[in-house]
């Protein structure tokens, strides 16, 4: 196995063009496990550790530009306001040691359906900036996952940055595991309210071959919130509405039975998490509305 250590981003792109089978490694929390278990023996490993800009982030007007190697612990400590859903998801990644090493870029590169950051990226809205010696592409994150542990990167491309929409409303993330810490997701769910556009986005993890958005559930909720004037009134949501949203989220799943859980349980659990996270985010949204307690009060959004 050859070990490549590019000093700059340009060198990394050149090396990747020259050795398309090279596997990039940053924190190594996925790649090294695969190598230790002998699941893969890449011809080349490419260490991205010397490329400083991959560990940098920048908060813009609408988005956070997150370098692909920024570790989860940094997201938790520095970006919880801008990226609350992703920060909650980052909290559930492995142990403190893993969170110090692992990164969103690694999660995207591995493209495991169980990756913890995916539902939060899907709910917030994000674009993956992929680059090669041929140029740069911006891929909406929902188009990035193409199959179990497969993604839309060309073989000469590397993930440089993830552009994540800054939160304009409440976001939540929930993950079911059979242990109260350090556990791979049985299934996961993230919900983001986008009051400016009056939309919601829901991301589901580990309940289908790829992470996915619960589009039908989102459409239903968008319509129901609009029709009922909930965005303006900030009224409490009727339980029937939350139930239907939950059922549609369950319905979006296409899970399997495996050692971590049954398909039926995953469907059930995604529904429960959808209902609860809708309750939490909506309560949080309402609490920001000044007029929610007065009859015909002021608009919330």
């Amino acid at each position: 196995m050859e070990f490549l250590r590019p000093a700059t981003w340009e060198e990394a792109l050149a090396a990747k063009a020259e050795h398309p089978s090279a596997v990039p490694i940053a924190g190594g929390t996925d790649v090294m496990v695969e190598i230790n278990f002998d699941h893969r023996r890449p011809t080349h490993l490419m260490d991205l550790g010397r490329i400083r800009e991959l560990r940098e982030w920048e908060v813009g007007d609408d988005t956070v530009r997150l370098g692909s190697s920024v570790p989860y612990s940094t997201i938790i400590d520095q970006l919880a306001t801008e990226l609350p859903g992703l920060a909650l998801a980052s909290h559930t990644v492995g142990s403190p040691q893993i969170r110090n090493r692992g990164s969103v870029g690694g999660n995207l590169g591995a493209a495991s359906p169980a990756g913890d950051s995916h539902p939060a990226l899907l709910a917030a809205g994000a674009e993956v900036e992929a680059e090669s010696v041929r140029g740069t592409r911006f891929l909406p994150v929902e188009d990035f996952y193409t199959g179990v542990k497969r993604n839309a990167l060309a073989e000469d491309e590397l993930i440089k940055t993830v552009h994540i929409k800054k939160a304009e409303g409440p976001q939540q993330f929930s993950k079911v595991g059979t242990r109260n810490a350090m556990v791979i997701a049985v299934c996961a769910f993230s919900l983001a309210l986008h009051p400016e556009g009056r939309t919601v986005r829901a991301g589901i993890g580990s309940a289908a071959p790829t992470p996915l958005r619960a589009r039908a559930a989102e459409d239903f909720l968008d319509a129901a919130l609009a029709d009922g004037g909930f965005w303006d009134s900030g009224r409490a949501l009727p339980p029937s509405l939350a139930r239907e949203f939950a059922e549609l989220c369950s319905g979006a799943c296409n899970p399997i039975d495996d050692v971590r859980g049954s398909a039926a349980y995953r469907r059930r659990a995604v529904g429960v998490m959808a209902r609860r996270t809708l309750g939490w985010t909506w309560e949080s949204y309402r609490s920001t509305c000044s007029g929610r307690t007065t009859e015909g009060g002021s608009q919330c959004a």
Partner: protein
């Protein structure tokens, strides 16, 4: 103060005998503790030798297959490879080993019987070279039908795991087995390793007196010991044709007895030294890489190190027997047990390991710590193509406890009685009879232990709610995974109590050996204690220093490394080492003390009449009278001489269980623990947070109170793991599905509750210091207590552990 003089002069240093510190009953620091916490402790996997080679094991990808051919040519041609060995390369007539039945091939011969069975070995100058070479060994397999449960093991035409087994010496078979294969009265089918019925009284007649009868079928999954230090060791060939083996194990001499014949060497040419052991819990009773490393070292003439990685470790040791248990209990309206019947089927996997003894334990503890005169019990272990199962903390008693405690709750509910009250009405006490007819002839404070855990105040409700209205998800099911802020969460409380034997049973000649030397080093009396006891983390070495201090009145105690240059210490299992090797150290210290006093009388007897008349003790480095008067310092008594003694020490004898009635004085001692579990269950997601697991246990004598509490914390947590997460998943093709810590989950600190511990010290007069083996009992009752609490919260029957979220929410 008189000046010091020579050994024949006047005794000196007659100042007050300072009491012995850090002796029995104190909690001195463990000598290995700081090293382990700071990462400086040398484990067996850390060993290194100049010019050493690395060994690698090729394992079967199939659970059951015929081996048609093995081609090692390509592997041997790889540069850096020094040897490739298969069954055909074994040097001696003995090619199998085993704890009780020698049915395990050192390397597979013609057939593999379980997923991960060793097939070939490679030694190379680099671990990666060895791994690659192993991958180049071509093995042609022909898959065979798989035996994976009772039906497939005992059904018509079932493939026999060991058609040529010769371990059934009970004369002519009562009924001949299938195809004229061997069987015996107690083993009705050759795919049954061992069977033990226990019949006392008349359960059928007693059932007629019952006002209520409850039945249940329970299941226990395959738990792993999950010790953190994987199997590893270093074999160094010696000039005399022998081998020195540095190894992490639980019993050096048991390993030796199995290793030497396979190497074709006399035992004295296989010299074993214990190296740093990273946990055991029963998983190191069987051999793993010991013989393999020695074979490679002897073949290559070079030191060979083998270290399993985590994946291989899951295939490298036996696991806890999965079990199916059918139970029936009856009781009168006033809450007295009338009878119990049960059938316990344990899955022993492909090889016998400790299955016969586990069967003996499961059957003899099947009724639990309760008085029930009419019993009809059957326990057996199967041969299957599943992973071999053997010793694990609790050893058969764990499986039984899960079932009988569920039954107690069912009976209490049926009788509308409090579950603790019901248990107390039936609790055994000193003098009660076991189902085997053996009287419990030591304190058995079962009712008191239950009273103590019940009397504790309950932990605060809704601990996740903080004053500011914020939710602390760490106090909720799901923890940081943020699955609930209180929605769907219901609290449950459950109780359980268990009984576990201590030491080896059923007539086994269980002994331990100690060698103790007392001499003056640097002007101070120093005791040197030499045993072959395996320190696996239990704290035995700390206790040995405490015993030597107390018995010999010294401060300085040196521990000799454990090796086979001293006699056997027996196994570090069955909660027996403090009892047994502690007992041996105490006994030999007494021999040394007698010699010292004899020498003192010879040297100084004329100086003081008390030398002849008083009861003399060694205390604070002095010879003192029982009245506290100092007669001489040990330094003077010893002079230049070293006083040494060595002896074997035995517990009282036991007898085998009758093969048909199960009657017999089978066990040495019993230990008891009770738990109260308080859980919060997310009833919509099926997730569990154990809030508190209070334990009360009788330890006879807390030799090292801090270590005792540590054992109880550890056992309690391991029992919690079995209740809610720990299981090796084996599919119907007998393949292991989750051999990693990614998917075999053990409790983290976020899963570990507060564990308040109440230690009782009711002396057992048969045991040294009155102590009672403490390591296993807390593992028993922890699991059923947690399950009782989850049942209380959910109202569901939950007859299986580990319980999974889908069982709790029933999807």
């Amino acid at each position: 103060m008189a000046p010091a003089t020579g050994p024949t002069g006047t005794p000196t240093r007659l100042d007050e005998g300072a009491g012995t510190r850090a002796g029995v009953g104190d909690s001195p620091l463990r000598p290995d503790g700081t090293l382990k916490v700071t990462g400086d402790f040398a484990y067996s996997s850390d060993m290194w030798h100049e010019d050493m080679l690395w060994g690698c094991t090729l394992r079967s990808p199939h659970a059951h297959a015929e081996i048609r051919s093995i081609d090692t040519g390509e592997a041997l041609r790889q540069p850096g490879v020094h040897a490739v060995l298969t069954f055909d390369d074994l040097p001696a007539a003995t090619t199998h080993y085993g704890l009780e039945i020698q049915d395990t091939p050192v390397l597979a011969h013609g057939r593999v019987r379980h997923h991960g069975e060793p097939v070939a070995l490679v030694a190379a100058d680099h671990p990666e070279t060895a791994r690659r070479a192993a991958a180049k060994i071509k093995v042609e397999y022909e898959e065979l039908p798989v035996v994976h449960d009772e039906a497939s093991a005992l059904g018509e035409g079932a493939p026999l795991l060991h058609p040529d087994r010769d371990d059934l010496p009970q004369g002519p078979p009562a009924s001949s087995g299938p195809g004229g294969t061997p069987s015996a009265p107690h083993v009705p089918h050759p795919n049954i390793v061992h069977r033990q019925p226990i019949v006392r009284g008349d359960a059928e007649a007693a059932a007629g007196r019952a006002d209520v009868i409850v039945t249940g079928e329970y299941e226990v999954g395959m738990q792993d010991q999950a010790f953190l230090g994987p199997e590893s060791g270093l074999a160094v060939p010696a000039e005399d044709g022998g081998v020195d083996l540095y190894i992490a194990t639980q019993w050096l001499h048991s390993d030796l007895r199995q290793i030497a014949p396979v190497l074709g060497l006399p035992e004295e040419k296989v010299r074993m030294t214990l190296s740093g052991v990273g946990g055991a819990f029963g998983g190191r009773e069987d051999l793993s890489m010991q013989i393999h490393a020695c074979l490679l070292a002897l073949r290559t003439g070079k030191p060979v190190k083998i270290v399993y990685n985590r994946f291989e470790s899951f295939f490298g040791h036996v696991h806890r027997h999965p079990a199916t248990l059918w139970y029936e209990h009856g009781a009168t309206r006033d809450g007295k047990l009338t009878h119990m019947r049960c059938r316990i089927v344990l899955d022993g996997g492909a090889y016998a390991s400790a299955s016969p003894a586990v069967v003996g334990n499961a059957s003899s503890h099947a009724a639990g710590p309760y008085v029930v005169d009419d019993v009809d019990i059957e326990a057996l272990a199967l041969y299957t193509n599943n992973p071999p199962c053997g010793a694990m903390r609790g050893f058969g008693a764990v499986q039984a406890c899960f079932a009988y405690e569920a039954q107690m709750d069912k009976l209490a509910a049926e009788l509308d009685m409090d579950p603790v009250d019901f248990r107390q009405r039936n609790a055994m006490s000193r003098g009660s009879l076991m189902p085997t007819g053996q009287p419990v002839d030591a304190p058995a404070p079962v009712a008191e232990l239950l009273r103590r855990v019940k009397a504790r105040p309950l932990p605060m409700e809704a601990q996740w709610e903080s004053v500011g209205g914020e939710t602390d998800v760490r106090a909720l099911p799901g923890g940081l995974s943020n699955t609930t802020h209180g929605e769907g969460v219901v609290r449950g409380v459950g109780y359980a109590v268990g009984i576990k034997n201590v030491c080896y049973s059923e007539g086994f000649d269980d002994y331990s050996t100690a060698r103790v030397r007392l001499e003056v080093v640097g002007g101070e009396p120093v005791a040197l204690v030499h045993t072959a006891m395996a320190e696996v983390g239990q704290g035995g070495i700390t206790v040995h220093t405490q015993i030597a201090r107390t018995e010999l009145g010294v401060t300085q105690v040196t521990l000799h490394p454990a090796d086979t240059r001293v006699g056997s210490a027996g196994s570090t299992s069955a909660s027996r080492q403090t009892y047994m090797t502690g007992g041996a150290v105490k006994h030999v210290c007494e021999l040394v003390r007698e010699k010292v006093l004899r020498r003192g009388r010879e040297l100084f007897g004329t100086h003081h009449p008390a030398w002849a008349t008083a009861e003399l003790l060694l205390e604070g480095g002095k010879v003192v009278t029982d009245g506290g008067e100092v007669l001489a310092s040990l330094v003077d008594v010893l002079g230049e001489e070293a006083v040494e003694a060595e002896d074997e020490w035995r517990h009282r004898a036991t007898a085998p269980f009758d093969l048909e009635t199960g009657q017999g004085f089978g066990h040495v001692q019993y230990s008891f623990a009770a738990h109260r579990a308080v859980v919060e269950v997310d009833t919509e997601l099926g997730l569990v947070k154990v809030v508190e697991l209070a334990c009360a246990q009788d330890v006879g004598k807390a030799m090292n109170p801090q270590a005792v509490v540590g054992q109880i914390h550890g056992g309690t947590t391991q029992g919690l793991g079995l209740a809610v997460m720990e299981e090796i998943v084996v599919d119907p093709a007998a393949k292991v599905r989750n051999p990693s810590f990614t998917d075999y989950l053990i409790p983290t600190i976020a899963d570990t509750p507060t564990i308040p511990v109440d230690v009782l010290e009711l002396a057992d007069e048969h045991a040294p210091y009155g102590l009672r083996g403490a390591g296993e009992a807390p593992t028993l009752s922890s699991t059923p207590a947690v399950m009782a609490a989850i049942r209380a919260a959910t109202g569901r029957a939950l007859p299986r552990v580990p319980v999974r979220p889908e069982h709790i929410v029933e999807v």
